[in-house]
């Protein structure tokens, strides 16, 4: 099954995407592959503004009809926003995972290490290997 992997984003092995914003902050969501695997999403819990996150820390929950899944922070930083639309429209994650379905925004720590993030090409290869 092919999934949409925009080339201007970076990715994690746990299927989050990271967008670099103009103000230096980053926006985080889950990939098209992840939303498709989860199925219809019915509940999303995003981290509170001001919360400090370590890279790899479980910080959000996305629940489909069938199951709950954790979302991990791709980098260390402080939460500056959670997507308020998801409380009433969790299906935005299914319909527009890279746009209106964003989960939260982070101000990265000065020392944050983002070298572990994958390019679109690397994530595509990772997905292909994972499905073997």
């Amino acid at each position: 099954m092919s999934s949409n992997i925009p080339t201007d984003l970076q990715y994690t092995k746990s299927h989050e995407w990271v967008r670099r914003m103009n103000d230096g902050a980053v926006e985080v969501g889950i990939t098209d592959h992840a939303q498709s695997a989860l199925g219809d999403l019915v509940f999303v819990e995003v981290p509170d503004v001001g919360r400090a996150l370590r890279a790899g820390e479980a910080c959000a929950v996305v629940e489909s009809v069938k199951a709950a899944s954790d979302v991990y922070s791709p980098v260390g930083g402080k939460v500056t926003a959670g997507n308020p639309a998801l409380a009433s429209q969790p299906e935005l994650l299914n319909h527009d995972p890279y746009g209106a379905g964003w989960l939260f925004r982070l101000e990265m720590n000065v020392s944050a290490d983002s070298s572990g993030l994958m390019s679109a090409g690397a994530y595509e290869k990772f997905l292909a290997d994972e499905s073997k």
Binding site: G39, D40, V42, F43, E45, V61, E63, V65, K66, A67, A68, A87
Partner: protein
């Protein structure tokens, strides 16, 4: 590689996401579980349930045998074609499985049992059937399709010839009838009207595709689960199992203690817990955002017996809220607390079903 029903290739062709279910490769959904759920509540959907086991019991003492084997009383089956829901119990009173029994002929009864329990069920049935000289035939050559929804009966009648259509549309709820090598019953597991049809496996793909052409939407096990939970129907392995008896599983209505002289397997154990049961299965409606899931802890203040547990939980597409069945200590309050990821959330205790025939049965 799991077991496959005769419709497996059809599901794959029609875009199903396939998952393992008790050793079977079954469709979870064909794109959107929620759309499939709504199709059944509002129009018509169909499920491949060929993984369930059809077991025919034959012999002059078949009725007597079932009156010993089952907690419900097949003596209630007065008319040919009538169906009865029952538990099959262990001597401990624990539930070995739940099933439907159809009264096919004076010396012929048909059971439909769960897929995941098939092997232990067949071994148990065969072991006891021998004492009654009853024949046990596992009808593996049959497929089964459940067509459910307010328009399901009308849309599925097109599979039959005009005279048969008239007969099948006259079937009363919980009755079935044979049409040649087909058996059509007005039963289901969704809280909607509809049919379950048992047909030769070689007919299955053609029937499925004709139903689809008639506007019946293929639906997967995902929607089947949300529909049955909204309808307040138990799932074996979640809401009942060998470690729990029917009286603490919301199934007291299926245990026929009368006539008192009928000795059925598990009766002695149930007589002991009959008056002093300490737990009960209730419905829960989450008052806040979030999703109830099986095994979450349920705290009932005022209960003397510790905590309860969610046995099945989900998001209800019809109510747009989370609902659950939970086994809780008997207590006087109308609300409980459910622990979700370490936090307590208020839930209202309600009497299932949550939804029936497309309509909410509880106040939101």
């Amino acid at each position: 590689m799991g077991l496959k029903t005769p419709l497996y290739d059809t599901h794959v062709d029609q875009g199903a996401k396939i998952v393992d279910f008790g050793g079977w490769d079954m469709p979870l959904h064909y794109g959107s579980q929620i759309e499939e759920h709504h199709a059944v509540r509002r129009d018509a959907g169909m499920f491949d349930v060929s993984h369930m086991a059809i077991v025919d019991l034959t012999g002059g003492r078949a009725r007597e045998f079932l009156q010993f084997l089952l907690a419900n009383d097949v003596g209630r089956l007065k008319s040919l074609g009538k169906a009865l829901y029952s538990c099959m119990l262990l001597p401990s009173g624990g539930v070995l499985d739940d099933l439907i029994v159809y009264f096919m002929a004076e010396t012929w009864y048909r059971l439909v049992v769960n897929a995941g329990t098939r092997d232990k069920d067949l071994a148990w049935i065969r072991r006891h059937a021998a004492d009654f000289s009853v024949g046990v035939a596992h009808r593996e050559e049959l497929a089964m399709i459940a067509i459910q929804g307010p328009n399901a009966r009308q849309k599925s009648a097109s599979l039959l010839s005009p005279p048969q259509q008239a007969a099948v549309l006259e079937l009363k709820p919980f009755f079935g009838a044979a049409f040649g090598s087909w058996f059509v019953a007005r039963t289901g597991y969704t809280g909607e009207d509809g049919f379950e049809i048992m047909i030769p496996a070689t007919d299955a793909a053609d029937a499925w595709n004709r139903l689809r052409a008639a506007g019946v939407k293929p639906a997967g096990l995902g929607a089947r689960d949300t529909l049955r939970l909204e309808a307040g129907m138990n799932l074996y392995g979640n809401d009942m199992d060998e470690n729990h008896h029917p009286l603490e599983s919301g199934l007291a209505w299926t245990v026929a203690f009368e006539p008192a002289a009928r000795e059925f397997i598990g009766r002695k154990a149930l007589e002991i817990v009959r008056r002093g049961g300490r737990f009960e299965l209730v419905g829960l409606l989450l008052e806040e955002r979030g999703v109830l899931r099986s095994h979450q802890k349920v705290i009932a203040s005022g209960a003397l017996l510790g905590d309860g547990e969610v046995t099945s939980g989900t998001f209800s597409p019809t109510l747009n809220r989370s609902i659950a069945l939970a086994r809780v200590p008997k207590h006087p309050n109308s609300t409980v607390q459910v622990e979700i990821r370490g936090k307590l959330h208020a839930a209202r205790v309600v009497k299932p079903p949550f939804v029936r025939h497309g309509k909410p049965m509880i106040e939101i």
